[in-house]
């Protein structure tokens, strides 16, 4: 039960973020900064989508990169080969990814923990192989070029449009996550995260729950991938189906805090900007990899629950009022309470 002050704080934060986000295209000094903004938003959508599975069920997937890649290629191929209008293709592409996610989830969600991680990694590598080898259909290592949805539009304008598109997508993803989070469905998913067998014996159809949420996650991931394809235009299997993509999603979600609605977003803002910064900073060296790695390691070691929870804990330590909501009672008191609950209520002071 979040305290009033906490609610207020969150509210303000949301409004502030929304305002800045909406104004960003105007504030951005040049198209490049705007494009960076788009990349960061894309990360935010991706890691939020990832968090449907990772956050609720605790299944860590390093393979969501593959789903994004499928979304991208799906959209791209539907436009180039299927001749669909760009945004119809986007929707269709995401739908297809969701459909594909059903068998994938059916196979992968049967195993837990590390085995699942391995399967998810395998998913990326296998899709990479397929899209590299099946050149006749996918264009192989030469990549696939996705025609512009707004032909002739100059680049800065093009960026502005897509910035708002990504923003909208983010909003939708967050809303859905929030809905599930507060729902009984969500509670069931969290139970799975804690102890799957136990949840099962309490009557939760765990497999169905996992599968549903996995498909939802895949759908949003696919959308993000597809939108990226429309924006970026050039798809290359090596980068579409890379473990790094999936790992960035995990990193961001973890950094922000997987149990928080805005965790992945916060993570994306930090990591995304960091990545860009490292790129500019050590442009000519692979040190940006080192920096990323170190960042991830630090998070895992010192903030395993993420930034937001860490902040929360800090606040709680500063304000002793909320300290130990756990009363201590002797056997005597327990015995006394035992009979009539109403005492118990009155004792809650």
């Amino acid at each position: 039960m979040p305290s009033v002050s906490k609610r207020l704080a969150t509210g303000i934060a949301i409004v502030a973020f929304a305002a800045v986000a909406l104004a960003f295209p105007e504030l951005a000094p040049n198209p490049y900064i705007l494009s960076v903004g788009i990349v960061v938003l894309n990360y935010a959508v991706l890691s939020t989508s990832w968090n449907f599975v990772g956050g609720f069920t605790g299944y860590i997937s390093l393979g969501h990169g593959a789903l994004a890649g499928l979304g991208a290629y799906g959209t791209g191929l539907l436009v180039t080969k299927g001749g669909l209008p760009s945004f119809v293709a986007l929707a269709a592409g995401a739908a297809i990814v969701a459909a594909i996610a059903i068998p994938i989830g059916y196979a992968a969600l049967r195993v837990r923990g590390a085995s699942f991680v391995i399967v998810s990694i395998a998913l990326v590598l296998v899709t990479l192989l397929v899209f590299q080898s099946w050149a006749s259909f996918t264009g192989g290592s030469r990549g696939l070029n996705v025609p512009r949805p707004f032909p002739g539009m100059l680049r800065p304008e093009h960026h502005r449009v897509f910035f708002y598109l990504f923003l909208a997508l983010l909003a939708i993803a967050l809303t859905v996550w929030w809905l599930i989070d507060r729902s009984r469905f969500g509670l069931g998913l969290k139970a799975i995260r804690e102890d799957e067998d136990k949840a099962e014996t309490l009557g939760t159809p765990t497999f169905a729950y996992k599968l549903v949420v996995f498909v939802v996650s895949a759908f949003f991931t696919g959308l993000a991938g597809g939108l990226y394809a429309l924006w970026f235009g050039d798809l290359d299997p090596i980068f579409q189906f890379s473990i790094l993509t999936g790992s960035y999603m995990v990193l961001m979600a973890l950094l922000g805090g997987v149990r928080n609605l805005f965790g992945p977003l916060v993570g994306a803002l930090i990591v995304g900007s960091a990545l860009e910064y490292f790129k500019v900073e050590f442009g000519n060296t692979p040190l940006h990899l080192v920096a990323t790695g170190v960042l991830l390691a630090l998070v895992v070691l010192f903030m395993p629950d993420g930034v937001l929870p860490a902040l929360g804990a800090l606040l709680r330590r500063l304000s002793p009022t909320t300290e130990t909501s756990i009363r201590e009672v002797t056997a005597g008191e327990v015995a006394a309470i035992g009979g009539e609950p109403q005492h118990a209520q009155s004792r809650n002071g």
Partner: protein
């Protein structure tokens, strides 16, 4: 001088409020001290502190008169303090054999290990019968038996037993209590935590009732069993009727 003595021990977990608030117990050699108390009173915590699994925040832990507070489990074992955990602490993916023999990890003398192995096999049939199967696949009670057997592989000066009879069937329970008595008679200092409180107190020499991390009352075990208030709050319903 008691073999094991805790003096004004304060202890707790992480940053949370203390669980033990200035608790003192003494366990003389050749004595069974029985620790009873409600769930969450801090009994297991006492044992963890005594065996070095949990460092006390304050207070003394004397083994043979020497303050060993803050030493880790390994040093404690070297000091002659052995601890059998509550719940289930077998090595699930190792065979019963490996589990039992690991009990003698610190023993170098092959002959001794051999004898002890035979002894525990004879005590607990399941150990002998399931010698080569993975401990994790045994039933709850069988696992407890294996654990207890493991603890019998060494003979320490002080034994800390955390509810050794939990989940055991009556026969095994009897065996366990017999062994506890045997240890005592062999001069070992035994600190016994039990929720099977009456039976435990009947076996023990001294009793000690713990509540909210403090000693509520302590004294000769027999005396505590007889106490009606204790019965109501800590030992359960009717005072013990002598069993057939």
């Amino acid at each position: 001088m008691p073999e094991l003595e805790l003096v004004d021990v304060q202890a707790g977990y992480g940053r949370a409020a203390p669980v033990l608030r200035g608790l003192s117990v003494a366990v003389p050699a050749g004595t069974i001290v029985c620790l009873v108390g409600p769930n969450g009173a801090g009994k297991s915590t006492v044992l963890k502190v005594a065996s070095g699994l949990l460092a006390p925040r304050a207070g003394k832990i004397l083994v043979g008169g020497v303050d060993v507070a803050g030493q880790g489990p390994q040093r404690m074992l070297a000091n002659g303090v052995a601890h059998v955990l509550q719940g289930h602490s077998v090595f699930p993916e190792m065979t019963v054999a490996e589990n039992v023999l690991l009990g003698a990890y610190t023993l170098k003398d092959k002959a001794v290990v051999g004898d002890r192995t035979e002894f525990v096999k004879s005590l607990f049939p399941v150990v002998a019968d399931r010698w080569t199967s993975l401990a994790g696949l045994l039933s709850g009670g069988q696992q407890k038996q294996v654990e207890f057997a493991r603890s019998l592989m060494v003979d320490p000066k002080v034994v800390l037993l955390d509810e050794p009879s939990m989940g055991l069937d009556p026969k095994a329970t009897t065996t366990v209590f017999e062994q506890v008595v045997r240890m005592r008679d062999a001069g070992t200092a035994v600190l016994l935590v039990e929720q099977n409180a009456r039976r435990a107190l009947e076996t023990a020499d001294l009793g000690c009732v713990l509540d909210l991390g403090r000693v509520h009352i302590s004294g000769p075990a027999a005396q505590l069993v007889a106490d009606p208030q204790l019965a109501e709050l800590y030992l359960g319903g009717r005072p013990a009727e002598p069993r057939p």
